[in-house]
């Protein structure tokens, strides 16, 4: 339940960033962390309430989630990695890419719980 609250909290924060492209990099990051907590909430329902790190999370997600949900999670993560660590490639982080992740991939995680 705490993971779900955290996911919703992040989602609320995303709304405050509005539709401007000024902080689009952060919008990708917040979207990813919201999706991550929805994913963790689903895993918690399976009896694992604490996930140590991304390595463990990835293994658990691959084990517990359907492949299309896992792929969506990884696409969100991939975009957030580019946003945080690969500024030279950040030109791929477009409004359209953000909308696709928001409307296609994010709901797959959100509807798990």
């Amino acid at each position: 339940m705490q993971h779900k609250s955290k996911a919703q909290h992040n989602e609320q924060f995303l709304i405050t960033l509005g539709s401007s492209s000024e902080f689009i990099d952060w919008k990708f990051v917040v979207l990813y962390y919201s999706a991550l907590h929805f994913g963790d909430a689903f895993i918690a329902k399976k009896g694992i309430s604490y996930i140590k790190n991304h390595k463990e999370r990835k293994k658990l997600y691959a084990d517990k989630l359907p492949s299309e949900v896992y792929a969506s999670y990884r696409m969100l993560e991939n975009a957030s990695i580019i946003a945080r660590y690969r500024p030279e490639k950040s030109y791929v982080l477009t409004d359209k890419e953000f909308l696709d992740l928001c409307s296609i991939d994010f709901p797959k995680l959100k509807t798990l719980v």
Binding site: K55, K58, K59, A62, D63, S67, E68, Y70, A71, S72, R74, M75, N78, I81, I82, R86, K89, Y91, V92, E97, D100, I104
Partner: protein, 152 residues
């Protein structure tokens, strides 16, 4: 007997001092890989060899051939994996290489060994395919590996 400088036993760091040609071709393919220099016309990098190719090498035994380690970090990393992980990863990478727009595939040693897959055009359908391949790979793999999809 074959010159020890020609043959490196598969998946091991030590060299076999000798090798009898009476061993069947299948065994040759499974157990040995030829390692040589790129400047040498008889070069094959970590490629399994057939019996007839091996005979060709034997006949050219007086040609100086040096053993070189691959400088490709991905190949180096693959050489550290156990057979199951290695073949699972090879199979996945072969599938990925067949996907349109996939360019270079390289390894970066980040927190986890990360396989960087470069796309000439970022496309969500392709990304999705790659991560579904990763999904299936993780179910087989004991080693931690990450995929990261980046534009060229």
């Amino acid at each position: 007997m074959i010159n020890r400088h020609l043959i490196k036993s598969h998946g091991e760091s030590s060299f076999r001092p000798s090798f009898k040609t009476s061993v069947g071709p299948q065994n040759i393919v499974q157990q040995f890989r030829v390692v040589s220099q790129s400047v040498n016309p008889f070069c094959l990098y970590y490629k399994p060899i057939q019996a007839h190719e091996l005979k060709k090498y034997i006949s050219k035994i007086d040609i100086p051939i040096q053993i070189v380690e691959t400088s490709n970090p991905l190949k180096k990393f693959m050489n550290t994996l156990n057979m199951n992980d290695r073949s699972a990863l090879e199979e996945s990478l072969t599938k990925i290489k067949r996907i349109p727009f996939v360019g270079d595939i390289e390894l970066e040693e980040l927190e986890t060994p990360t396989i960087i897959i470069r796309l000439s055009e970022m496309n969500r359908k392709i990304e999705e395919k790659i991560f579904q391949i990763e999904y299936n790979l993780l179910k087989k793999l004991k080693t931690d590996i990450d995929f990261l999809v980046l534009p060229v």
